[in-house]
């Protein structure tokens, strides 16, 4: 049965539903304003590519829920951190929550990246949505930082080597890298500060930016689909495009959320998150998580500072994009320069990542 008919049936059922149900719903809605979410959005917003941002938000919710559970059993002190993670992993429930947390982080990174690519391909970052693009880029940077801090928290050799690189990069920044200096707050372990960043500072800022992101989407409306006719200003979807209530968009997101939770559960059990040996200073024997492979190839070629310059260049390119690309066209066929440059960047990042797989771990710290 088509979903529209189901909507109509549900509306009829609501009318036929008992008076007490309608009264209760009206009372709740009057106080919580739930029906305000039923504002119209263009039909194309319900397509899979346009729900990637919402799926990213669902991953974030899963990360918060599983993170709250894990924080009850994690000891953020160097002497106990690794063993406490092992204790969590050895419990069936603990292993499941940790696995879902780990895979939800991967899912959030991937869906955020795909969302970013979709926004680029459909030209949705163009006027008047430049500000929201910057908010999105900032969130992507924070997600990367959250994955880094999460890697360090398990306090194994991989996490400690990641921390070592970060300390050295902080060192390269001079005074600007003060927060990463272990001497900044010398009486406690840096692990404790990174734990604070992982569970409070980073998710807190992401949450604020998510709210701003959603408010700006509501303010500027859903961007037009490049393959569909646009409105008079070309900044909005055509007035003739059919609309659906936003609640319908949310309903489809919930369906994707259920599927995503199931997929993450399968991955958590079949491919559990790893825990390495407790850390030792002075050696490099591990590889970083896959999203950090490309800057680490640069490090192998040009030294440790290349990680810093590579990341700065990557995020700078993303940040300036809407201000440099003044082409008003949104369809990818009509933007050959932007598409060629983006393809070159993507190929370079993939090539650098593949080279990292083929290269044995090398010692860079303190060199």
């Amino acid at each position: 049965m088509p979903a529209e008919l189901v909507d109509a049936e549900q509306a009829t059922a609501t009318l036929k539903s008992p008076t007490w149900y309608r009264k209760a719903w009206a009372a709740i809605d009057e106080r919580m304003g739930i029906s305000a979410l039923a504002y119209p959005v263009p039909e194309h917003a319900n397509r899979f590519a346009w729900t990637l941002g919402g799926i990213t938000a669902i991953s974030f919710v899963l990360l918060i829920v599983t993170g709250i559970v894990l924080s009850q059993f994690y000891a953020p002190v160097p002497e106990l951190a690794n063993t406490s993670v092992r204790a969590v992993q050895s419990n069936p429930w603990g292993g499941l929550f940790r696995g879902v947390h780990y895979w939800a982080a991967q899912a959030m990174y991937v869906t955020a990246l795909l969302h970013l690519i979709r926004v680029f391909f459909s030209g949705s970052y163009k006027k008047p949505r430049e500000g929201n693009w910057l908010v999105g880029v900032a969130m992507f940077g924070l997600v990367t930082f959250a994955i880094f801090t999460g890697t360090v928290l398990k306090w194994d050799q991989e996490g400690f080597e990641a921390l070592g690189h970060n300390l050295e990069i902080g060192n390269l920044l001079g005074g600007l890298g003060f927060w990463f200096s272990p001497n900044f707050s010398g009486q406690i372990s840096i692990l404790l500060r990174l734990y604070g960043a992982h569970v409070v500072i980073i998710p807190g800022i992401i949450l604020v930016l998510v709210i701003l992101h959603f408010l700006l989407v509501k303010r500027h409306h859903m961007s037009p689909h490049p393959s569909l006719p646009v409105g008079e200003s070309s900044e909005q979807a055509a007035a003739a495009e059919p609309t659906q209530p936003f609640t319908r968009h949310i309903r489809r997101l919930v369906a994707f959320g259920i599927a995503l939770t199931g997929i993450l559960g399968i991955l958590a059990i079949l491919l559990p998150a790893a825990i390495g040996s407790p850390p030792v200073t002075g050696i490099e024997i591990t590889r970083p998580p896959w999203m950090f492979w490309w800057p680490f190839t640069l490090e192998n070629w040009f030294g440790l500072s290349a990680i810093l310059w590579g990341e700065i260049a990557f995020f700078a390119i993303l940040a300036v994009l809407p201000f440099v690309d003044r082409n008003k066209k949104r369809a990818w066929r009509q933007r050959p320069v932007a598409m060629t440059l983006a393809a070159m960047l993507l190929v370079a990042l993939i090539a650098l990542s593949i080279i990292m797989i083929l290269t044995p771990a090398q010692n860079h710290l303190g060199m």
């Binding site: 088509p2 979903a3 039909e43 194309h44 319900n46 899979f48 002190v77 160097p78 951190a81 690794n82 063993t83 992993q89 069936p92 429930w93 292993g95 194994d156 300390l167 050295e168 060192n171 001079g174 005074g175 600007l176 200096s181 272990p182 001497n183 010398g186 009486q187 406690i188 372990s189 393959s227 569909l228 006719p229 055509a238 003739a240 495009e241 059919p242 319908r248 369906a255 994707f256 959320g257 599927a259 199931g262 997929i263 559960g265 399968i266 958590a268 059990i269 559990p272 790893a274 040996s277 407790p278 030792v280 200073t281 002075g282 050696i283 024997i285 591990t286 710290l365 303190g366 060199m367």
Partner: protein, 214 residues
């Protein structure tokens, strides 16, 4: 009318001066920010020492040998561990390290007995790790070297979670497919163009509002 033009000119003049002022404020703010960043960079804390730049404590070198042994069970890992054992035997700082046990570990390693070597190496630093204070800064706080965590076979609970997860994945996918947009892009485009044509061919009717009157 004349007064109005004067007002406009005055306003233009004001806005020109205002723009100049805003420009000056922006430039000032920008250069202040750059100076502040440079200042912090230059005056900031000095560079700190970091692991890897010549570890001298004997017990840390023993831990490095142990790390090679638990992370790389191939002959290459044993070779690297042997190098570290040699390093600790000539290290200046052997505080808390039982050198005799390290020598026994070397013999075991040379014979390919990595299990015994691990036990001996861990035992050789008992005194050193017992004297460690709570870790601060970037100290590892590592006392006992453990092998990477090995996940056991799936338990009954794991299987139950797996079945539930598969059901959720399949159910969610079916639900998402069921709720997918009715129209393809081509049909949607056709409908929009048809809708626009209809709007253009239908004469606009006044609703009697003020805007219609204008």
């Amino acid at each position: 009318m004349h007064r109005t033009s004067g007002n406009v000119m005055a306003q233009n003049g004001l806005s020109h001066r205002g723009n100049l002022r805003v420009g000056r404020v922006r430039r000032f703010a920008f250069f202040s920010l750059v100076l502040a960043l440079l200042g912090v960079s230059v005056v900031g804390p000095p560079a700190w020492a970091h692991g890897g730049d010549g570890v001298t404590e004997g017990y840390v070198i023993v831990q490095q040998a142990l790390s090679y042994l638990v992370n790389d069970t191939s002959p290459a890992g044993t070779m690297k561990a042997l190098e570290k054992v040699d390093e600790v035997l000539i290290a200046e700082d052997q505080d808390g390290v039982d050198v005799a046990e390290v020598e026994q570990a070397k013999t075991a390693l040379s014979a390919g007995d990595t299990k015994t070597a691990q036990t001996l190496l861990q035992g050789s630093i008992t005194e050193a790790v017992a004297a460690l204070k709570p870790a601060v800064g970037e100290e590892t706080g590592t006392t006992t070297m453990l092998a990477p965590y090995a996940q056991g076979p799936l338990t009954g609970t794991d299987w139950a979670f797996l079945v539930l997860s598969v059901l959720a994945a399949v159910g969610g996918t079916i639900l998402a497919m069921w709720l997918r947009p009715r129209q393809g892009l081509r049909e949607l485009r056709h409908d929009i163009l048809a809708g626009e044509d209809k709007t253009q061919s239908t004469p606009l009717e006044s609703k009697g509002s003020e805007s219609d009157a204008r």
